[in-house]
């Protein structure tokens, strides 16, 4: 059977297809005739938001040599690394080219339990790290809203967590990393160098991260001590965050974007700290429980995330419509205590409430959804207010959105965090007029010294990129030098002209 050269010996659907269109011969004016068939599967891929699928040759290297071979043999349409595919948009896709699934490289090589560092492969997930490290009394320096991201993805998107105002983004805690570059060589990259600053937040476009050494945070228990309070509107919320954020290591607010009028921007703040052993012991005493493996609280450093059934594969798009979401938001706001201090919560409950429902992204139905995560600079609170008001006025069926006050900016050239206010919301992509609506918000954001998170993006207008990321020219120049043939490329890079 004749094969389409670019897709290699693809079994399944693609294989059936190539017999049909491949029949006209193996060359085509627009593509090189000598393209090498590469063993691997041709698979349509999307990001977590499930929009804009494109087909790729998916390769899963099991060794660094396999990764290097794959990079050298990427072919005309290049390659890009992919972790657990939690980026919402098209950052980890590469239409017609290769995608290196890094989750096959998943070894934790060494933990320095005294000094608090870990050396691991880039394909290791933060979930796995928590399983390994918590019993030893260490925690990852930064965790996003899900544990299901890889260390490579955490560096490449320079992710931030609820502790950004204290600890900065993930890459600040990376002591060194090994990078497989376009020439097929492996380089050791340390902070303070241009290559490090381009790679942190560089969306895989400088190369494939193979390993990283990460500095950890000491903890006494696997519990969080959490303070909850309600804010009645946006002003109240911003005032509370400004006044008291510095007393907490972790802080974020869940904001109800369906609330209107005087309640616009009402929110629940949850802020916390890792619970000390003393706190946990006194709480156990109060309950008459003992901190043993079988006890209701387990041992102090046990990591016990809960799991619910997997979300069904096909959900009618309208299930999570405005009414359902509105009701949910209302209930959730009402049920939150007006103020409550020192509540003990498990790590998973505090940081990753959505991880309990694997594949929750399917609940958004067929046309998928977009995540809009942006930040506006301090002093631009008016812009934030306008944006929040516009979103509420539009009645988007947004589940709880997250507002967070960022600390200092990051050295990474394309890192997202910059001092100011960040808001994240997800919206069904099928909502009429959404594209134009978000375009207008982008303008507001760009004018307010702000930007959108590229790892979450699936729709930004390329023209605004330069205003949002002023260090883009340096990034492009470094890439031109390091990767003159453009080996590393993704759909995102093509769409935005990175």
């Amino acid at each position: 059977m004749p094969w389409i050269p670019h897709f290699g010996e693809a079994p399944g659907k693609a294989g059936r297809y190539t017999g049909f269109l491949g029949a006209r011969g193996d060359t085509f004016a627009g593509m090189p005739a000598n393209a090498v068939p590469f063993p691997g599967r041709t698979t349509p891929l999307t990001g977590w938001g499930r929009t804009a699928p494109t087909a790729t040759r998916l390769i899963r290297p099991r060794t660094y040599e396999e990764a290097a071979t794959a990079v050298r043999a990427c072919g005309a349409r290049g390659g890009i690394a992919r972790g657990l595919g939690r980026a919402y948009g098209d950052a980890a896709q590469n239409a017609g080219g290769a995608v290196l699934d890094m989750t096959g490289l998943d070894r934790v090589h060494a933990v320095d339990a005294d000094g608090g560092t870990v050396l691991c492969d880039a394909g290791v997930s933060l979930h796995r790290l928590m399983e390994v490290l918590l019993p030893l009394g260490w925690f990852v320096p930064v965790t996003p809203g899900t544990r299901q991201v890889t260390v490579g993805g955490a560096i490449a998107a320079d992710i931030h967590g609820k502790n950004h105002h204290v600890s900065g983004a993930f890459s600040r805690h990376v002591l060194s990393l090994e990078l497989l570059t376009a020439d097929g060589e492996i380089r050791t990259v340390v902070p303070g160098t241009p290559l490090f600053d381009a790679t942190a937040g560089g969306l895989g476009l400088t190369g494939v991260i193979l390993t990283a050494t990460v500095r950890l945070l000491p903890v006494e228990t696997s519990w969080m001590s959490v303070d909850t309070e309600r804010a009645r509107d946006l002003d109240d919320l911003l005032a509370r965050l400004t006044a008291t954020d510095r007393y907490y290591r972790y802080s974020a607010a869940w904001i109800d974007l369906l609330a209107r009028g005087s309640a616009t921007g009402r929110a629940v703040l949850t802020r916390g700290e890792h619970a000390s052993l003393e706190t946990l012991e006194s709480s156990a005493r109060a309950r008459g429980a003992r901190l043993t493996r079988r006890g209701p609280l387990g041992r102090p450093l046990d990591f016990r995330p809960s799991r619910f059934p997997v979300a069904p594969a096909l959900v009618p798009g309208g299930l999570l419509g405005r009414t359902t979401v509105g009701l949910f938001n209302e209930l959730w706001y009402r049920k939150a205590p007006r103020a409550r201090a020192d509540q003990l919560q498990r790590i998973a409950t505090f940081f990753h409430p959505l991880d309990g429902v694997p594949h929750w992204n399917r609940l958004r139905g067929r046309s998928g959804f977009v995540q809009y995560r942006f930040v506006v600079g301090h002093g631009h609170e008016e812009a934030l207010r306008r944006i929040v008001t516009r979103i509420s006025a539009r009645r988007c069926p947004c589940f709880l959105a997250v507002l967070k006050r960022f600390g200092e900016g990051e050295p990474g050239w394309l890192s997202f965090p910059t001092p100011g206010w960040s808001l994240a919301l997800d919206i069904p992509a099928g909502l009429p007029g959404l594209g134009a609506f978000l375009d207008r918000l982008d303008e507001e954001v760009a004018a307010a010294d702000g930007r959108v998170h590229l790892a979450e993006d699936a729709r930004l207008r390329p023209e605004l990129l330069g205003a949002m990321y002023p260090r883009l020219p340096e990034f492009r120049a470094l890439r031109r030098e390091l990767d003159p043939d453009g080996v590393f490329v993704s759909d995102l890079a093509r769409r935005l002209g990175l």
């Binding site: 297809y17 004016a29 041709t42 929009t51 998928g368 977009v370």
Partner: protein
Amino acid sequence: MKDAFGTPQSLLILGGTSEIALATARRLIARRTRTVWLAGRPSPDLERAAAHLRGLGAETHTVSFDALAPDSHETILGKVFAEGDIDMVLLAFGLLGDQAHDERDPVAAVRVAQTNYTGAVSAGLVCARALQAQGHGSLVVLSSVAAERARRSDFIYGSAKAGLDTFTQGLGDALHGTGVHVMVVRPGFVRTSTTAGRPETPPATTPEAVATAIELGLRRRSETVWVPGALRLVMAALRHVPRPLFRRLPL
């Protein structure tokens, strides 16, 4: 690349002077489209259309393309794809013909059949292959309600569009799972300069309405789009009307 809403950044139009295609281009340029290729038979109209789109801010090129010369399609379209990714191909060329005249002039009738059907088969296959190599893109094909059921008034055109329609559906199935999206668009009577003076069959629509429906279809990754949307139901009913009755309907 297309964005999350399926809006393309680059667009190739086959049949570069088609009113429906140009209305679609205008709409997409207002959103994300920055590069447009107008493929068609060289003419002042084609250049005028290109200048018009340039005025709207899109980098616009013209290429000489004749649906009746399938031997040249691979080379001509190959060159376009070699310049860069094409996010969307709009196959818009077509020839309505003059039924009464063509019934008496078989050569003219064959030209209608070849333009609408075999020309599109050739161009469609070439584009499908290039899109598949890219791993992404939409192929949007302008079929017609006339493809759905033979009508006394335009069955030469209708039969060619029926061939095109079936071809496109099959191509869509063949390309399922390759990252390429294939969409059949079936407009009813569209008021354009070509149809001016011809008797309107309700519900009539406009090139702008077709453009809007195409944009929506891209966002939903639809496989079939009717314009206006109500035609889907109307045609579902008409399909089952017995022929003796159907013949007498004023369609």
